[in-house]
């Protein structure tokens, strides 16, 4: 089991507020890792540190080390555009650009300077197929992505990430705005994708974590409480706080 991303005593402060209180964990390649915990526990913050999305927020201080394939992603020589190509992100609300489906998917490739039409066409088809949305979009590739349903938009956003061939896909509650059928399509797709990608998923849906993840990490108040294989976590967690949270005994 190869480690793809590793955090080592990662602290993150929003101004003076400590949102991550020393997180050390290793994410395994070609697995789905679920990050769970109540709102404000730091799971999305941690997810965003993994491709430096927090750089955009003023007053953020990050200490500790985070490595991707052994390379320090906060090192001065790290190219953020390159990092985000390797570590793509999908958000809670589908956020297609107000372009056609085709232009959405090739957006990252064009940024990277690729102009060859055959190469772009091929990437569009492969990525949309991998994101399980090709059948629904192949006849409307040049129409606006905004005309698609929420579930289709989300899968196009995933295709947009896949097109740049990342190593890691970060997903921040990718199905919470979707109906159960669309959610199920995305879950099935993620299970298929994990043979080629490492997937890190923030979710509030326990059943979703149970259904698709290999490992589950439970966060509380900026701390990593428990990180173990998902079957163990949902049948016999080691920590009382984990047990209380997944049994709904909190709050």
């Amino acid at each position: 089991m190869a480690t793809i991303i590793e955090t080592n005593d990662t602290h993150l402060y929003y101004g003076k507020k400590e949102a991550l209180k020393g997180i050390s964990m290793a994410f395994t390649a070609n697995e789905i890792t679920a990050l769970i915990g109540p709102s404000g526990c730091g799971k999305s913050t941690l997810l965003r540190t993994l491709n430096r999305m927090n750089d955009l927020i003023p007053n953020v201080t990050i200490t500790g080390k985070i490595t991707l394939n052994g390379q320090d992603i906060y090192a001065p020589e790290m190219d953020i555009v390159e990092l985000r190509k390797e570590v793509g992100m999908v958000f809670q609300q589908p956020n297609p650009f107000p372009f056609s489906v085709y232009d959405n998917v090739v957006y990252g490739l064009r940024l990277a300077g690729i102009r060859d039409k055959r190469q772009l066409d091929e990437a569009v088809e492969t990525s949309l197929k991998a994101a399980s949305v090709w059948e629904e979009t192949k006849d409307v590739l040049h129409q606006s992505a905004l005309a698609l349903s929420g579930g289709q938009q989300q899968r196009v956003c995933i295709a947009r990430v896949l097109a740049v061939k990342p190593d890691v896909i970060l997903l921040d509650e990718p199905t919470s705005a979707l109906d159960p059928i669309s959610s199920s399509k995305i879950e099935t797709m993620l299970l298929t994708l994990k043979k080629d990608y490492s997937i890190i998923l923030v979710t509030h849906n326990m059943q979703q974590a149970g259904r698709i993840s290999d490992r589950t990490a439970f966060f509380l108040d900026g701390r990593l409480v428990e990180y173990t294989n998902t079957t163990k976590f949902f049948t016999n967690p080691s920590k009382q706080e984990s047990e209380d949270y997944i049994s709904g005994r909190f709050g």
């Binding site: 326990m206 059943q207 149970g210 949902f234 049948t235 016999n236 967690p237 047990e243 997944i246 049994s247 709904g248 005994r249």
Partner: protein
């Protein structure tokens, strides 16, 4: 929400404990009827068995609903699974009490063997105590005690062997006791089976407490 689920779970637990008491009483009465040659009490045990059966169905129904509607995990799930599995063990124990009661009714009027009856009464009291103890261990979720109780099943098996051998000897010596003695053998075997179900119950208590599925009295093999 958690309070509602918690109180449902508590109700399930209470109704299961009640079922345990019903079965315990059935065994107690079946044994008492056998020892006292009390046909009326034996008939009561038989008549009351449908209440035990109905309770099992009721517990299963509630468990299915809670699993479908509440999607319980970890200790909540284990509690429901334990009750579903253990209630079917209890129901079978109740059936054995009925079988003992039927033998009591049958044996009356046949030539009897007081020494063997005394041994059966002794075995019965021992089993009865195991049943009461295992129900107590369930209520306290005491896995250690449960395992200890299961260990006593060896004595029950030995008592069965002894009674069996004595019955065979008795039949050879006094053929007029053949009908009565074969019922003695059966009663002893029902008691022995009840002891096995006590072992099953202790396995469920261990699962409830530790999440481990164990096989007791069988080289202590562990799965998982």
């Amino acid at each position: 929400m958690r309070e509602i689920f918690g109180s449902e779970l508590q109700k399930l637990h209470t109704r299961f404990s009640e079922m345990g008491m019903m079965v315990n009483e059935a065994i107690y009465n079946a044994v008492k009827a056998f020892v006292d040659h009390d046909r009326e009490l034996a008939q009561n045990v038989i008549n009351n068995d449908n209440q035990i059966n109905a309770r099992e169905v009721d517990l299963e129904q509630r468990s299915f609903e809670m699993i479908a509607l509440q999607q319980p995990v970890t200790s909540d799930l284990r509690m429901i699974v334990t009750i579903m599995k253990a209630s079917s063990d209890l129901e079978r124990m109740g059936d054995h009490a009925v079988s003992i009661a039927r033998s009591t009714i049958r044996v009356k009027g046949n030539p009897r063997v007081p020494e063997i009856e005394a041994d059966i009464a002794k075995m019965a009291r021992f089993v009865e105590k195991m049943v009461a103890a295992i129900l107590d261990a369930y209520v306290k979720t005491d896995a250690k005690k449960a395992k200890k109780i299961a260990g006593q099943d060896k004595k029950v098996n030995q008592a069965f062997q002894d009674i069996y051998t004595d019955c065979i000897k008795q039949m050879q010596q006094s053929p007029e006791t053949v009908v009565g003695s074969s019922d003695y053998m059966m009663v002893a075997s029902y008691l022995e089976r009840i002891g096995d179900y006590v072992t099953n119950l202790s396995e469920w208590i261990i699962y409830l407490k530790t999440n481990k599925i164990v096989e007791l009295n069988n080289n202590d093999n562990e799965r998982m």
